[in-house]
Symmetry: C2
Subunit: 253 residues, 2 copies
């Protein structure tokens, strides 16, 4: 069992039952108590759970966004396929604005090998491009990194977006429905997404099916702004139909 697998198990167990003791988790995972303690420290540092004497407790009593460290390992296959489709929709030479989020990070991995100009809105993606120099040209937006993901937000980000125009924006989302439009968990994020959409000629949305029909609390804009949505087979059919009715081209991979 890999390190990440065990972390996932622990996080799930703690979230499902609201809390767990070190002993229980050691039994569940087959690891020693010491290892569990170290894992709990790591997860607590990532904001996944709260450490208490004898075990750990969930932090997610409110309907919050799950921590990035966890989301990154969920539905990786679907994200890869979605990212591949997005990459296929992009032509060589385009200038591309890349939103934050785990799905967009997969898109970044693919775009590294393409002769395109990319401005990523998360530090994680910036690192990706900076570490492995490829044919792609990197432009870094200003801003203040938010949370573990390094999503860039704030006036500097908005100013960077206002100063540039892109052929294509690849947007991720926390919630999307025909009725409530595109929504995000965070007000600052929503402002950035709004500006991103305004700075690009063509808007692609990349999101797994679980986000469709859901509504987060910060409103970004109506679904009619979105030209193409790439999602996976878990997306509810009625929601897809509604979005297509509103003028968005939907691709399921």
């Amino acid at each position: 069992m890999s390190n990440a697998d065990r972390h996932g198990l622990i996080a799930k167990a703690v979230r499902d039952s609201g809390g767990a003791t070190v002993q229980e988790l050691a039994e569940l995972t087959g690891a020693s108590e010491m290892t569990i303690r170290r894992d709990l420290d790591t997860l607590a540092a990532q904001g996944v759970l709260e450490r208490v004497r004898g075990g750990a407790r969930t932090l997610l009593l409110r309907g919050e966004e799950p921590p990035f460290a966890l989301r990154a390992h969920e539905a990786v296959d679907a994200k890869r396929r979605i990212a591949a489709e997005i990459s296929a929709l992009v032509a060589d030479g385009e200038s591309i604005l890349l939103d934050s989020g785990t799905t967009c990070l997969e898109v970044a991995r693919l775009l590294r090998e393409r002769p395109v100009t990319v401005m990523p809105l998360s530090l994680q993606a910036v690192h990706l491009f900076a570490e492995t120099p490829g044919p792609a040209t990197l432009v870094v937006p200003g801003g203040q990194p938010r949370a573990a993901e390094g999503a860039l937000t704030g006036p500097l980000t908005l100013a960077s977006l206002a100063a540039l125009r892109f052929d294509t924006a690849v947007i991720g989302c926390c919630g999307l429905s025909a009725a409530d439009g595109l929504t995000a968990y965070d007000l600052d994020d929503a402002a950035v997404k709004k500006a991103a959409i305004a700075s690009a000629r063509r808007i692609l949305v990349a999101t797994d099916g679980g986000k469709l029909g859901r509504t987060a609390y910060a409103y970004v804009g109506p679904s009619s702004l979105l030209h193409t949505l790439v999602t996976d087979a878990t997306a509810p059919a009625d929601e897809i139909a509604a979005l297509e009715g509103a003028g968005t081209l939907v691709k399921t991979v």
Copy 2:
């Protein structure tokens, strides 16, 4: 012998004699020819040297800036001491603009542990802050990363600088003398440094003694703009005296 040591040896041998064969380098380092070939590929990718059949050739026939990958391992001790002194000159709570360069990267390492707001002008430093969350607040400037170091340049960087004001700017340099002022190897870099100096109330310069009295080709500004210079004992005494005469406080560590 560590990997980096061997790379240093190879780079030095190639630079000193203008070129070397794989056999010579294998003999010099005690490693196998295959390892040398792999090293040469790596160094060529970093722009340290040029690969030719049978060996490698130096690229530095003109008076260019040595590659970042090499500079990072030179005079590390002096850079650490200079960085420590710079850190001591900074008070908790300040907002700090941090230039690109290897010396400033050492300053970044120390500032991570301090409750300050930092905007680094290189991606390497941005990574440093993003990876290890500490008490420091990170602000990312926009821009296009230049070369291996990730020095941010261009209109987005200048716009980010124009939008903000800092308590202190920590500037690195390629050349500094009382007669020719502060100079850089690259025009874009020089423009960024100029804007950085204009955006801060107090200007600290961190540079090893080897840069004093030297002049690179892109002019940034006169030495009178600089409030404090921190350098090491290898700095020529006459140059220090001249800079002090022009109004700069010089600290030797």
